[in-house]
């Protein structure tokens, strides 16, 4: 179980401070595939990095299996991280290592016995459907294959948790579907609890049982995917679901009003039959500070 209690993260810079996360309270139960959805700059990437402490929260606590890990340092911190797998939008595979060597990396870091590690790596590559690709290099693989390697790598230490940071955002829709199916299978067969960060409702719909919607650094809605989809309460959720349109520009200053100017809508009213989470419904919202 992962619990975030009153979590906040403030970045200090020359231009002042920026609150990336405000009062985040979240419980992720064992066996969940938990979606955290929000637009760019909402704070979701910072949130997931607080779980394995790649980012230190400014306030609040991170509890893993009931143990407060917020202030872990040194060896304790490295051990904690090796028990939590992570995959990324750009895969972040090591370009100068073979597929096999990439999967071995987390085991190498922990100085695991070579023969055991090799067996584990081969099993994982079989699991993700990359049997026989051990000697290839990442540059020789497609995006979907690279993400499969990175999933195998993330599972090498037999983690109880797997964090996915926009893991399918760089992939086409068919590949996305197959990666999400793989994540569901891993959840079911290995019992790995999965946290999925995404900006696409279609990902939540396809893979998750629970969802938290994050907007402006806060969690604005949480619940079972079915109930949130059936009765979204927050405006941003309705927008992400394509039930409400988003203004393209800030309202124009009254002083500059030109006779013909009318409020502009970014997108045409959504056709009821259109799939949810199409890029057009999200495009108009500007990134606040890039994808933190």
């Amino acid at each position: 179980m992962i619990e975030l209690l009153g979590l906040g993260k403030t970045y200090q810079s020359k231009h002042g401070s920026f609150e990336a996360l405000k009062d985040i309270n979240l419980r992720i139960d064992d066996g969940d595939i938990y979606g955290i959805i929000g637009v760019s700059g909402a704070g979701k990437s910072t949130l997931v990095r607080c779980i394995n402490l790649l980012e230190r929260p400014t306030v609040g606590q991170v509890l893993i299996d009931g143990i407060d890990v917020t202030n872990y340092q040194g060896r304790q911190l490295l051990d904690l991280r090796s028990r939590i797998g992570m995959i990324f939008q750009d895969f972040n595979l090591f370009a100068q290592r073979t597929v096999l060597s990439n999967v071995l990396f987390p085991l190498e870091v922990r100085h695991d016995a070579r023969s055991e590690a090799l067996k584990q790596a081969h099993n994982l590559l079989k699991l993700v459907g990359l049997d026989g690709m051990e000697k290839r290099y990442p540059a020789q693989l497609s995006g979907g294959q690279q993400q499969r390697v990175s999933i195998a790598r993330a599972l090498a230490n037999r983690p109880a948790y797997l964090l996915c940071d926009e893991a399918t955002s760089a992939l086409d829709s068919l590949t996305t579907a197959s990666i999400l199916a793989l994540l569901r299978e891993i959840n079911r067969t290995l019992g790995v609890t999965i946290v999925i960060i995404t900006h696409a409702m279609s990902v939540v719909e396809a893979a998750c049982n629970k969802v938290a919607v994050i907007d402006g650094s806060r969690i604005v809605e949480t619940g079972e995917v079915a109930s949130v989809f059936a009765a979204p309460t927050a405006q941003i959720t309705r927008q992400l679901l394509g039930l409400e349109t988003v203004a393209a520009v800030e309202p124009i200053d009254a002083g500059e009003t030109i006779a013909a100017v009318e409020p502009i809508n970014a997108v045409e009213p959504i056709n009821a039959g259109e799939p949810i989470g199409t890029p057009a419904t999200q495009a108009p919202r500007e990134a606040v500070d890039g994808d933190v």
Binding site: N52, L54, L78, D79, L80, R81, S82, I84, M86, F88, D90, N92, L93, F94, A95, Q96, R97, F105, P106, E108, V109, R110, Y137, P138, A139, S150, R153, A154, A156, N157, L163
Partner: protein, 225 residues
């Protein structure tokens, strides 16, 4: 000039040029090696302590960066002279191969440090974050990510370092280091034996070409991108 291609010329000057070539190579390779041992260490420290590095120490980083830049701005010929007492303490002499290797290495260290640092900077930050996420320590990130991922770039940088040092070795030749530069100056310049000078320069050109080709070949072999 025409006697350059006769057998008498090579009988007379072949051994001299051969020994000078070997001396040049020994000086270049040994000073490159020493410069890399120290230069990589400096680059690691510079990279780790930079403001958004793994162990940020902005003030220390700025001071060290400044010292490295100072080292780079000193002309080699001045460095050669300033270092005379230091060279004498370390190797007991200021002439010959041993006397030249010390200033050559010292001169190359800041150059190598910046070259290696820039290779490190080309390692995608996401790969460093991935390594951190799997519980890699800072030492492991340096050896398993920075050094390993940037190896092809490091090898290309080493070719540039070696070739730059070929030029410096020739300069050191002017103050008694030996090598091809020394032969070119002593025989070609002072004694007006332009055939010897041309032969030395031709050998230098070949040496540079060989260094570049060998390093390029290795870099291409090991680069898996």
């Amino acid at each position: 000039m025409s006697e350059l291609f006769t057998s008498e010329f090579w009988l007379d000057y072949g051994p001299l040029l051969g020994k000078a070539s070997i001396d040049t190579l020994v000086m270049v390779l040994s000073s490159t090696l020493i410069a890399y041992v120290v230069g990589i260490l400096l680059a690691v420290v510079l990279k780790l302590t930079e403001p958004n590095g793994l162990k940020p120490q902005p003030v220390f980083n700025a001071v060290l960066g400044w010292v490295v830049n100072m080292g780079r701005s000193l002309p080699f010929i001045i460095l050669l002279i300033i270092l005379i007492p230091f060279t004498r303490t370390i190797v007991g002499t200021i002439v010959g191969i041993r006397g030249a290797v010390v200033p050559l290495a010292v001169c190359a260290i800041p150059f190598v440090a910046r070259m290696v640092e820039s290779s490190f900077s080309d390692v995608h930050p996401g790969r460093i974050e991935a390594a951190q996420a799997f519980g890699a320590s800072t030492t492991q990130i340096v050896t398993k990510v920075f050094l390993r991922e940037s190896l092809p770039s490091l090898i290309r940088g080493a070719a540039i370092t070696c070739i730059t040092l070929v030029g410096y070795v020739a300069m050191a030749g002017a103050v008694g280091a030996g090598g091809l530069g020394d032969v070119a100056i002593r025989y070609g310049y002072y004694r007006y034996q332009s055939d010897v000078m041309i032969a030395s320069v031709l050998i230098l050109i070949i040496v540079v070409q060989i260094i570049q080709s060998v390093f390029n070949l290795i870099a291409r072999r090991i680069d898996k991108r």
